[in-house]
């Protein structure tokens, strides 16, 4: 990942921001599982029509090395919007835990995570944040294990919120730290290109195998969110891509549609069915459709020149 943090950490602490500071946060904050699972198509479409379509095509055709400024600005906005929503929804999740409301917390868990999963490559590039927020049991030293999956285990396996306050509060402050840090991330074109593929690789390695949410079985939420995050990047680069390699652009677009349709068939009650419900051949089909998308997507680097 080609990502640089331009501010020193101490400076970050001073500017630590809380939820709701960003202009567009309210729209996304209201997004719950219902809207996020069903509206990817429209979200992506509006993204491409709002911010970048006016400026990007012109710049892309202007020079041999395309101008990615518009795409990068839009992406930064997207990342900020998602992290705002993450902080807000995690706040509600944490409140439910801290008040001992297990059923409510279970309901809020997967939708809150989706905001994180959409922008995971960015978070991963920001040092320890990813393990602190998203480590699974065994990913880190047991004494350091915290974050979403620690709480997932408490809710679904231990069925108790005893002793979870510390983890819950830490999770909220970690997401706030993430929110502060993303503001400062230097996003390069290569990050966009590789980030999209990385999101799908995330799906390949843990979500499609059902290893991500092993207690709650909400893996498909994460699956969908990773795909949405990748699709967002594709939508932003689409004008440049259509210019440089229309055939590739179409192939990627078609493959997203195939995969989204497939995912939509597992939508349920505004969210997704439990991973346990999937049959072997259904998992295989999801995985193969994912590979079919990721392969052409990995050719987006052609935008950066050969």
């Amino acid at each position: 990942m080609n990502i640089r943090s331009s501010l020193a950490l101490s400076a970050l602490a001073a500017t630590l921001l809380t939820a709701g500071c960003s202009n567009s946060s309210t729209d996304t904050n209201s997004a719950n599982a219902a809207s996020t699972s069903s509206n990817t198509g429209t979200a992506a479409a509006s993204a491409s029509s709002s911010s970048d379509s006016s400026s990007a095509p012109a710049s892309a055709s202007a020079a041999a090395s395309a101008d990615f400024t518009a795409a990068i600005d839009s992406y930064r906005e997207y990342v900020i919007t998602e992290t705002d929503a993450l902080v807000k929804d995690t706040g509600a999740f944490v409140d439910a835990i801290n008040s001992g409301n297990i059923e409510e917390a279970k309901k809020l868990y997967a939708p809150a995570r989706m905001h994180y999963e959409r922008i995971e490559p960015i978070a991963e590039a920001l040092g320890d944040l990813d393990p602190n927020i998203d480590a699974r049991d065994g990913d880190v030293d047991p004494s350091e294990w915290r974050g979403f999956h620690r709480l997932e285990k408490a809710l679904w396996e231990d069925k108790s919120t005893d002793g979870t306050k510390e983890y819950a509060d830490r999770l909220l402050s970690d997401t706030k730290l993430l929110r502060a840090k993303v503001e400062t991330v230097d996003i390069e074109p290569s990050l966009l290109v590789t980030g999209a593929v990385e999101l799908l690789n995330e799906v390949s390695t843990s979500k499609v195998t059902g290893e991500e949410d092993r207690y709650s079985r909400t893996d498909l939420y994460d699956f969908a969110a990773n795909v949405e995050g990748a699709e967002k990047i594709y939508e932003l680069l689409k004008p440049n891509l259509a210019d440089k390699d229309p055939e590739l652009e179409k192939k990627i677009g078609d493959s997203f549609t195939v995969l989204q349709n497939e995912l939509n068939s597992y939508a349920k009650d505004g969210g997704y069915v439990s991973y346990d419900v999937l049959k072997e051949d259904e998992v295989r089909k999801l995985s193969q459709n994912l590979d079919a998308l990721a392969e052409p997507l990995s050719q987006m680097g052609t935008l950066l020149g050969v």
Partner: protein
């Protein structure tokens, strides 16, 4: 690389030519072997020393399809042409290794199928000749995944053949090809004793890759699967092996995992007339597009090796009707003695037991097919702790009903070998005629 590879005049000359015009023909296919060959000569050695992947391909010369070049001067290495009247990998001598891949198409239109075959044809032509996939730029851009996955870089072609065929499901309603399905290519019936498992059966497309090097063969399957992403998915794959040429320079008949020579009774592939009768579909057979092609049946046949290993030598020999040591028919002397169905042993019984495999498979002596099988080993059967190994049986013929089906019906009913084997996988593929240069595999059908 071996220093001796570089001693021939031809090599020196080739390298000399190219060193005068470095990089002038970068967009031509790059012979995988050229890369290393050149690096070993004179100042060009620095190329390799530099270590950067990009540098490896920068100075390579135009690719020529001269065998001697492809083989880095090894005259005993054969390169099978990819284009021609027939596909290679059918009557060409079998190589040391097999990587078989069965694919299911995910595309909806015949146009997309055609596109896939066009891409596959080009890739297969390159890989069988030992060339990298993609030009040099496509393998050196730092911003892209390399066009060739790279594990065969620097390796000789290894007699690679890549053979494509269409399965029965290819002719279902999806692509409008139902009327093109040859009568000589029916579904296989369920044979007595079949223990077929769905994960080893069928497929829209079968690709048989054979090479003298397993890594080279795997590279081909992997890259074909990569190219197919979005158009077709792998359904199952199977690797196979036999003794290598290095282990048996005399090149005798290879032995299967039961220890018997396997292939002795095969029809002579050098007899063109016989091949037309036994192997090659003919224009007048009913499906003109298959003329020059051949029908393949593949069966994954598990051997109960633990059971076999505790049966007596006499039992084993009577199972096949041949001596284990020499491969000769029981009662005969030499491996290639004809089967004498009338011969009697000392007790007045048929020398070739009536349930012996060779005798039954011989049928009336006129029903033949061309076998091109490989052994397989796929680790353990987790349930029983026994070896999951056997024969990946591949055969080619002109008419599946009259040849494989007729024969297997007899074998399934009475073959003594059935005590020791179990058919767990099955697939049939109509292997297209060869493509002419400029054409593509399957162009007579689509």
């Amino acid at each position: 690389m071996e220093p001796s590879d570089l001693k021939t005049n031809e090599n020196l000359q080739e390298a000399g030519t190219s060193s005068k015009t470095p990089g002038s023909l970068l967009n031509k296919p790059v012979s995988r072997r050229d890369v290393l060959k050149m690096a070993g000569i004179g100042g060009l050695g620095l190329l390799l020393g530099g270590g950067a992947a990009g540098a490896l391909f920068k100075g390579t010369k135009a690719f020529t399809r001269k065998e001697s070049v492809l083989n880095a001067g090894r005259t005993n290495e054969k390169v099978h042409p990819f284009y021609g009247k027939h596909q290679s990998g059918i009557i060409t001598p079998s190589q040391n290794f097999l990587c078989f891949a069965s694919f299911d198409l995910t595309v909806a239109s015949i146009n997309e199928v055609r596109e896939l075959f066009q891409k596959w044809t080009l890739a297969a032509a390159n890989m069988t000749q030992g060339s990298m996939l993609g030009d040099s730029a496509a393998n050196t851009s730092l911003n892209l995944p390399p066009a060739d996955t790279g594990e065969a870089a620097g390796l000789i072609p290894s007699r690679t053949t890549i053979t494509f065929g269409a399965g029965p499901s290819f002719f279902d309603s999806r692509f409008g090809l139902a009327s093109k399905r040859p009568a000589a290519f029916p579904d296989l019936p369920k044979f007595r004793g079949d223990a077929l498992q769905p994960q080893w059966c069928g497929g829209d497309i079968g690709v048989q890759v054979c090479a003298d090097d397993l890594q080279v063969a795997f590279h081909a399957v992997r890259n074909l699967a990569r190219i197919a992403r979005g158009s077709a998915v792998l359904r199952w794959t199977q690797e196979g092996f036999q003794r290598t040429g290095a282990a048996e320079p005399a090149n005798g008949t290879p032995r299967n995992l039961m220890g018997f020579k396997d292939g002795t009774g095969n029809p002579d592939v050098n007899d063109a007339k016989l091949m037309d009768e036994v192997v090659w579909a003919q224009a007048g057979d009913g499906a003109a597009w298959m003329a020059g092609g051949s029908y393949m049946v593949a069966r994954r046949i598990r051997m109960r090796l633990e059971v076999w290993d505790r049966s007596t030598l006499d039992d084993q020999q009577r199972t096949f009707g041949r001596y284990r040591d020499s491969g000769a028919p029981l009662g005969g002397q030499d491996e290639f003695d004809p089967l004498d169905l009338n011969a009697k042993d000392a007790a007045g019984q048929p020398a070739l037991p009536v349930t012996s495999h060779s005798r039954l498979a011989h049928m009336d002596g006129n029903t033949k097919l061309l076998r091109r099988a490989y052994s397989y080993s796929s680790g353990l059967d987790a349930k029983t702790g026994q070896l999951d190994a056997g024969l990946f049986f591949i055969c080619f013929q002109r008419n599946v009903s009259k040849q494989f089906i007729a024969m297997q019906q007899i074998l399934a009913a009475s073959d003594k070998l059935n005590e020791y084997i179990s058919h767990v996988g099955s697939a049939g593929f109509a292997c297209f005629p060869g493509a002419a240069e400029g054409g593509y595999i399957g162009d007579t059908l689509f």
